[in-house]
Amino acid sequence: MEILAYILISTGLIFFLGTTIGLLRFPDFYSRMHAAGKGDTLSTVLILLGCICIVSTQGGMNWLLGLKILLIINFIFIGSPTATHAMMDAGKKAGAEPWRKDSK
């Protein structure tokens, strides 16, 4: 169980690395939001699932802790895309031009 937890957490960290590189390398506001909005969700969920695996091996009343972490995952699933969506909309309203192949 603990090995599974470490695998999940490391995978989450690797995805975070990919997200960060994407965030730095992409050319404009919109495509950067692509990297941030997706990578965040998956890597946070993976890390939290790893936490559940660790917590559930400790016995006692810790299954409640696991359920609480599940609740956090639930809120991230709803909140993260909504936040991404709000920021994209704000960028569109503020008049940020999407990057195109022919621009520069």
Partner: protein, 162 residues
Amino acid sequence: MKYLYSFIVLFAPWLVLSGKFDPLHVGMGIVCSLLVAYWSADLLFPDREATLADRLRQLAGFIGYIGWLFWEIILANLHVFRVALSPRMNELLAPSLVEFDTKLEKELSKFILANSITLTPGTVTVRVNGNKFLIHALTKKAADGLPGAMETRIANIFEITR
């Protein structure tokens, strides 16, 4: 019946979040859940005609949908990962704004569709206005696949006419 549903929906998180099973805490939970269920059952379950079987089918369909969505999210991440790490990134990128009409009618299914689009490969919802979805797509391949299988899946779960 809607009072019973609301009570269960409210009381289960109470048990999880309080984590204490002595009579005092459970009793307080029951009283609070009953009061809130009495006051706000109409808000939680606005469509009255749905039967228990309908709701259970929706729930099962939704859980299956979450599983499928999770797989799509992993694919999305690998996709962003590959584009981000590619040395020829500028050739792979072809950002575009796509607009399409959805056939979904309920607010809830539109919300789920918008969030799912944001989470899946190469596409982010920019704006939802009535039936029009404005999508920013990262690559050409992603733009061509809209709205795709996702809309049909959501329609099958949430838009069944009774």
